[in-house]
Amino acid sequence: MGVEPKKIIEVKNVRKIYRMGNEKIYAVDDISFDIYEGEFCCLLGSSGSGKSTLLNLMAGIEKLTSGQIIMKGQPIHKMNETRLARFRQKYLGFVFQSYNLIGTMTALENVELPLVFKRTPKKKRKTMAKEMLVKVGLKNRLQHKPKEMSGGQQQRVGIARAFVAKPSIVFADEPTGNLDTKTTMEVMNLIREIARDNHQTIVMVTHDQSLAEYADRVIRILDGKVQSIETIKEETNVEEENNGVVGDTADSNCVN
C-alpha cells in the first residue's frame, strides 16, 4: 500500500433539497468529504439525519440539487442512465436493509444477477456465484429460494450478490437493520473480511453506534450536515498503523 492514500469518492458541497409543497427539506446540506480506497467508512446518524439520501447521491441513485460527486475520477452526477448502469456493473455493489432478493430466483440465480446484466458468460458466472456463496457459508443453500431461508441467510446471499462482480466499492444501507444482534455480528464480520481480502471500499449507513467499531472511519451526520469525522483505532498491528496515517489525514478534513 502506498503512503499517500488514494481518494476513491469525492463528495464536494453536495446538497439535496426536497420540496414538499412550499416547504424545503434540506436532506443533505452542503456536505463535503472524501472516501479512500480500501477503507470501511461508516455514515452514522440518527433516523432522518440524511444518511440514506447521502448514500443514494453517492451511488448515483438520486440526482443531487447542487455540488459534485466524483467516483474513481468520474463525475457521477453528470452521467446518464446508461453510463451509470455500466459504471455500476463495473465498480459498484449494493447491500440492502431488506435484502432485496428476487423472490422467484434461487440463491444462486440471485447472486448471478449482476453478472447476467454484465453479460458474463454462463459458465464463468455460475462458478463465480458458487464461489461467492461458499465464501458466505451457504454452499448447502444454492438452490433455495429466499422464502426458504432465514433473514441472516438471505442477507448472506445479498452480500454474495454485492461482491460477486468484484466491485471496487460496496454501498450498504442499514445492512443489519432487520437482523438480531448475533446475526448482525456475523454479517458485519463477513462484509469486513471479504472487503479486506480484496481491498474493496465499503460505505455503510447505520444509526447503530455499536456498528461503528467495525469501520475504519466514522462520519457522523446530523440534520444533513457532517458533524464529525473520526478514525477508529484498533489493536495495533502493522497494517492498522498504516491506517492510522490515513486517519490523520482524514481528521484534518473534520468539520468540527
Binding site: 443514494n56 441513485i61 438520486e62 446508461t82 455500466r86 431488506s98 446484466f117
Partner: protein, 446 residues
C-alpha cells in the same frame, strides 16, 4: 443482458402469474381465431365466386350487339338501342388498347333436313380464327374450320340428339341424327325472301360436319357454326336464287353484323375497354358488368368480417397492455433492484417487450391451431348458414364449395400479426417500466 438470459427471465416472469398470463393469452387466442376464421371465410367466398363466374363465363369477352341493352349501374335494363355494326366498326375496335381479338358475328336462322326429319336451327357465322381465340368447346369428331378448309360446319351434339323431328308425325317426337350415317341437307328459311321461279331452290348437302361436345354454356349447345367466308359464299349462292328485289335486300344483310365479340387481354382491363368503346358511341355488354356490383357486395361483406376479427384483436391488445401495466406495478421494486444492480434501461425495455410479444405469439400459435379446427367444423357443419350468407352476395352455386379456406400464408401472417399486436400493446408499458427509478430499490416500506 444476453438474449438467452432475457428469454429465460421473461418466461419466468410470465409463468409466475400463470392464471393472469393464461387469461391474457386466451384473449389473443380468441382474437386470432376471429381474424383467421373471418379471413378464411372471405377467401372461401371469393373462391366460390371465382369458380362460379370465371369458369363458365368467358370473363374477358365484351360484345357489341345490334340491339344493345342499356343497363344502369345496378344492372337494371332501361331499354335498347339499335346500332350499325359494320367492318368499319370492327376495324375501329381493333385499335382499342388491350383488345386481343375481335370477331364479327352473323346470326340467322335456317333449316336442316335428314330424310323425313327436320329442324329449325340458329346459325352463327364467325371468322375461323375466332374458334381458337374465343375458346370454343372440344369437338367429338371433325375439325373447326380453318383457312385451308373453311367448309367444315360445326353442329353441337345437343342439336343432333334433341332437335330433329318428323313434322308429319302426331307427337313430334325427336330423334337423334348421326351425320356419318344420315344425310344432312341445309336450306335457308323459305319465308323470308321470294325465290325466282326460274331458278332451282338453294340446297346444301352437308358432308363435312364437325360435332361439338355438350357444354355448360347454352349458347354453344344451340348454334350451328359456319366459317364467315364460307357462309358469305353460300349465302351469295342462295341470294342468286331469289327474285331481283329480294336479292338486293338479302345481300345487304351481309354488310351489318348481329354482334361483335371482343376478347380483352386481361380481366382487369374489361371495364376500361368497355368504357373506350362506349366513348365511340356504342353500347356494350359483358359478364363483368353484372359481376361488378355482386363483387362489391361480396367485398363489403368480407370487409365487415375482417372488421369483426380486427375488433377482437384490438380487445386482446388492450388486454395485453393491461396485463403488462399490472405486471409493472407489481414489479416496481424488482425493476428498481435490477437497475441498482446494473441492468441497462434498454434491457428493461426489451424484457417487457419480450413478455408482451410472447403473450401475443403464444396466443397466435394456439389460436391458429384452433382456427384449423374451427375451419374444419365450418366446412363440415356450417353449410346451411353459409349458403344463405353467400347467396346474399351473389354466389348461388355453392355445391361442394368450401366456406372457410386457410391458405398457407395465413397462419404465418396471423402469428406475426399477433406478435406485433403484443409488441405494440407492450410498448408503452415497457417504456413506463424504464422510467421506474433505481430509488425504488432503496425504499424499505414494503
Amino acid at each position: 443482458m444476453r438474449i438467452s438470459d432475457l428469454i429465460k427471465m421473461g418466461l419466468r416472469n410470465l409463468s409466475r402469474r400463470k392464471a393472469r398470463t393464461g387469461l391474457t393469452v386466451l384473449g389473443v387466442i380468441i382474437g386470432t381465431i376471429s381474424i383467421v376464421i373471418m379471413v378464411s371465410i372471405g377467401i372461401g367466398m371469393n373462391n366460390s365466386f371465382d369458380k362460379q363466374f370465371m369458369e363458365n363465363g368467358a370473363m374477358t369477352v365484351i360484345r357489341i350487339e345490334q340491339y344493345g341493352s342499356i343497363i344502369d349501374d345496378e344492372g337494371n335494363w332501361l331499354g335498347s338501342k339499335e346500332q350499325v355494326l359494320d367492318d368499319n366498326l370492327v376495324d375501329m375496335v381493333r385499335q382499342v388498347d388491350h383488345v386481343k381479338a375481335v370477331a364479327p358475328v352473323l346470326d340467322t336462322s335456317a333449316m336442316l333436313y335428314s330424310g323425313k326429319y327436320e329442324t329449325y336451327i340458329s346459325l352463327r357465322a364467325i371468322g375461323h380464327e375466332a374458334f381458337a381465340e374465343f375458346g370454343y368447346p372440344e369437338l367429338i369428331s371433325g375439325a373447326y374450320p380453318t383457312a385451308e378448309n373453311n367448309r367444315s360446319v360445326v353442329i353441337p351434339s345437343y342439336v343432333l340428339e334433341n332437335y330433329f323431328y318428323n313434322p308429319n308425325s302426331r307427337n313430334y317426337e325427336t330423334v337423334a341424327i348421326d351425320p356419318k350415317e344420315d344425310e344432312l341437307i341445309f336450306k335457308f328459311n323459305e319465308w323470308r325472301y321470294v325465290r325466282n321461279e326460274r331458278k332451282k331452290e338453294f340446297k346444301l348437302d352437308l358432308t363435312n360436319v364437325a360435332i361439338m361436345e355438350e357444354s355448360d354454356n347454352w349458347e354453344h349447345n344451340s348454334y350451328v357454326y359456319f366459317d364467315m367466308d364460307y357462309y358469305k359464299e353460300i349465302y351469295t349462292q342462295y341470294a342468286n336464287t331469289l327474285k331481283l328485289e329480294d336479292r338486293k335486300k338479302a345481300m345487304a344483310e351481309l354488310d351489318t353484323y348481329s354482334y361483335i365479340m371482343i376478347n380483352v387481354d386481361n380481366i382487369k382491363n374489361v371495364t376500361q375497354v368497355q368504357e373506350d368503346i362506349e366513348a365511340l358511341g356504342y353500347v356494350t355488354y359483358s359478364e363483368m358488368q353484372y359481376l361488378e356490383p355482386l363483387k362489391q357486395t361480396s367485398d363489403m361483406l368480407q370487409m365487415v368480417l375482417g372488421a369483426i376479427g380486427a375488433l377482437a384483436m384490438m380487445v386482446s391488445a388492450i388486454n395485453i397492455a393491461n396485463t403488462m401495466v399490472m405486471s409493472i406495478y407489481e414489479r416496481t421494486k424488482e425493476i428498481g433492484i435490477m437497475k441498482v444492480l446494473g441492468c441497462l434501461v434498454k434491457d428493461v425495455k426489451k424484457l417487457f417487450l419480450f413478455e408482451a410479444a410472447m403473450i401475443g405469439l403464444l396466443g397466435g400459435i394456439v389460436g391458429i391451431a384452433l382456427s384449423y379446427l374451427a375451419s374444419f367444423a365450418i366446412n363440415k357443419y356450417g353449410g346451411p348458414l353459409f349458403q344463405t350468407l353467400m347467396q346474399s352476395s351473389g354466389v348461388y352455386d355453392v355445391g361442394d364449395a368450401k366456406f372457410s379456406v386457410i391458405p398457407f400464408w395465413l397462419p404465418f401472417l396471423a402469428s406475426g400479426f399477433a406478435m406485433l399486436i403484443g409488441v405494440l400493446a407492450g410498448y408503452f408499458p415497457a417504456r413506463r417500466a424504464t422510467k421506474i427509478s433505481a430509488i425504488e430499490a432503496m425504499k424499505t416500506d414494503s
